[in-house]
Assembly symmetry: C3
Homo-oligomer: 364 residues x 3
């Protein structure tokens, strides 16, 4: 459950809407008879928010929850507000053309209280190479290791136990949660958010058959490329982005990767592409801008996906996708016995097609 | 191979059966002519166990291995014992109605020797916030970090390099292996076992389209909910459980998660549900009690699964499951060329059905 | 992008070919009119390599890039060289029967400069148990933890934050990147490369139903086996290999595992088998030698795969594979609407087959 601000820290609704970074968003509290400005201690869902919390309605399916809401204020569109019967609700409506975005910004604002209290400075137990260049205002947590030649930009924060490999670069205002690992020569832009357990720059999976050894043995191909992330990238917990074989692996601006994703060596991911958890992208695949890749989807190597491609969760993409659109390839589940019965026909599909053809010939 | 106790530490069979935590289990050594009580130094499989080890038979397929077993004693059901020809075996039979459970309890007993030797106390290199409340008897390993406001219950042990984020709570008698990460405001019940690399409380994957920025750009939705685990939960290595967007992500009592599982934000998992490795559960999905989810299964978001649902490995669940039972959806593998031939018919299935209908009309 | 050696460190082409570990490889620079020996500062791709870099041609599809290459020298086969028109290229050809292997060895050679500069000795912040046996020449990075009874072989290097559990063994000349975790009683051969976040020896997923507790509750089966890796194994970032229930989990010589792979307890993987990322292998499965397992493939438990089996990416192997060959089972993706239309027929496949049979009977 979200933490509430202490009452004395809580802003009035008016102040909250002004303080939150809502530049460019229209956001108008509806005048109510109750002129009192409620203090807003936090943000809750329609059903959980109490009389000192703000809530929002963005999913039309939840409209019926409005009347039950005990929130102090609820953000909604004008259209949703028009459906409300006067006197049927106790909260103060706030009209906004983008209630979901408004919610995002308010959640950021409330979370900023926690973020602003994160420790500052360099913890005594951190091991910082003398050749590392640490900008002013950088916070480095306990047991971090910052190796030779690293550069860290102003305002960036490292949680406990991060490792920044030799000659890697972190831009300004990044937030690394605990236990993030960058290998050597990994470059991260500004405002990155890197979650615990993610590993940037591990060796790509490169081996050459080595006929000089016993049958089947592999020679390692040292991975001498790097990884370069643009600005405003978020990388989820335990996600891995491998370094390039020779060239760099490239992650564009504004890319969002969820947890436990694997990006192979030499992939290129276009700006603002978002991937849900457990996706695997094999090496050298190039993904366009503004794509969305559903959870547990799998992309083969050496492919090209156009801009604005949406891959459904669980789908294996095994060839180039040159047109925007939504692509799917998931075996529909069923009760086990039914599945067994139908799946048993799959190996006969070619034969069944031939039998239909034969019947058609007999008919004609 | 399991470690054997030193002979002088090894209990007699009688003592072992008495000491092991087998309350409620009938467990009767069959009287043999050899009145000597063998000393039991460890637990092995039927074929590997030596004359100072105990073994068990729970899988009827392994019954034929009995005669070859060199174990000192073998736990089995009365039914299995009845099939044994007198004089055809060298071990001492131990009759038990639940030999597999008995094996589990004996393995725990032998492993407890190792666990009891784990280091105690708080290691000098651990960084403990002054506001953290550490109960008596807690062990905290080297290079751990325990942040502000954390509470750790009595008897809980942290391996090396664990991070317990601000205001998180660990119950009593938990075992955290090395390098476990809890973000802030994560609550864990009693007797949890958390494996290396697991991450509890990383941000859920929440973004709102932000039309104020360039096309396709995302605004982060700060994740201000928490994670709450019940008692007796085990979480595997490198598994991730994300914190809720607003409400908490909830893991019930006795839930067992294998390695590399991903639980999205706001999921709720019912008591005693078990998931094999590599499962992904997208956000806000609610899973009932006593479910089993096979390895690499994938559950879409915002679904509800009833109690007692069994999902086969590799299956994608993409809609609500309201009835108990086993559900499957796996593409049957074949030799590649055969697969190619049959898979090529899949995009024509709708057309084939129409052709069959046309033939049927002509027939009638 | 690969780092270039300083000009004064760069070898001549002749020296490079002699110094690189290319024993057994024919590798002959073609005599050119330009007798000057270029200095080679690094290795690049055909299109990116500059006048002080060497490149290679192994993929025939890239042959057309040769004429555009600005590399100082290009490794290629005699056959590729024979297609080059005299005067159409500016680089110095180097003939080799195995250009891809030659590239691998040269990349190793260039990377060795970085590896040789890794810190040596035992960092002050590492915690080493007095009973650990550390061979001469071992490097142990900051914040490592080496527990009781560990043995580490000569020349092995541990990056920052590694944990080596009690009684584990590392062979000689291993390279552990930062944040590798070995539980207790894990044995690793010589020359292993272990990447960040990998976990060897976490508990296998073993539970017995416990009728003494409430319905559905599980008793933990303590995992008292170990993990044993052969020589020349590479394990990718965030990959997990679980310890055996009773016997050991076994990884053969020369096995290469990519990132985020899960190997269940008691698996056995044959020599030189390679697995791409995100593969899951359930417990007790035995895989032969020289197999290749494509990314995100899933293998059920208790199976046996023969030697020289190739599993395609995304394929679920659910039964024994007794013959070498390539096996596939992937649902072909399509535009979403097309997929919907065809997938809807899958639950009717059995019925369709019956309808075809009925039609055939009427015909006959």
């Amino acid at each position: 459950m979200p933490v509430l601000l202490a009452p004395e820290q809580a802003p009035t609704l008016q102040t909250l809407l002004a303080q939150a970074n809502v530049a460019g968003l229209d956001c108008i509290p509806v005048e109510t008879k109750d002129a009192a400005q409620p203090r807003i201690r936090g943000l809750g869902s329609l059903l959980s928010a109490g009389p000192d919390e703000i809530s929002f309605l963005s999913n039309p399916k939840l409209q019926s929850q409005l009347q039950q809401s005990g929130a102090a204020a609820v953000i909604m569109t004008q259209a949703a507000f028009d459906t409300l019967e006067a006197g049927s609700y106790a909260f103060r409506p706030v009209l906004c053309s983008e209630p979901y975005l408004m919610y995002a910004l308010l959640a950021q604002w409330f979370d900023s209280h926690r973020l602003n209290n994160l420790p500052s400075g360099i913890h005594d137990s951190a091991i910082i190479a003398p050749t590392a260049q640490i900008a002013p205002g950088v916070a480095i947590g306990p047991h971090c290791v910052v190796e030779d030649g690293v550069r860290i930009g102003r305002g960036t924060r490292l949680g406990p136990g991060c490792i920044i490999g030799a000659n890697s670069v972190l831009g300004a205002d990044c937030l690394l949660h605990g236990r993030v690992t960058l290998y050597h020569h990994v470059t991260v832009g500004d405002r990155a958010i890197l979650h615990s357990g993610c590993v940037l720059g591990a060796d790509g999976f490169g081996f050459a058959p080595d006929p000089r050894q016993e049958s089947g043995a592999w020679a390692k191909i040292a991975q001498i490329g790097g990884v370069v992330l643009g600005n405003d990238v978020e990388i989820g917990a335990n996600t891995t982005v491998d370094r390039g074989a020779i060239e760099n692996t490239l992650i564009g601006h504004g890319v969002k990767l969820d947890n436990q994703i694997m990006i192979g060596h030499n992939c290129q991911i276009g700006d603002h592409t978002a991937m849900a958890a457990c996706v695997g992208v094999a090496g050298s695949t190039v993904i366009g801008k503004r794509c969305t890749i559903g959870g547990a989807a799998m992309l083969s190597g050496h492919l090209t996906l156009a801009d604005d491609v949406n891959v459904s969760g669980g789908t294996a993409i095994t060839s180039n996708v040159s047109q925007p659109g939504r692509y799917t390839g998931v075996y529909p589940y069923a009760e086990h016995v039914q599945w067994q019965r139908n799946a048993a026909v799959l190996p006969q599909l070619g034969a069944l097609r031939r039998r239909i053809r034969a019947l058609e010939k007999q008919e004609s």
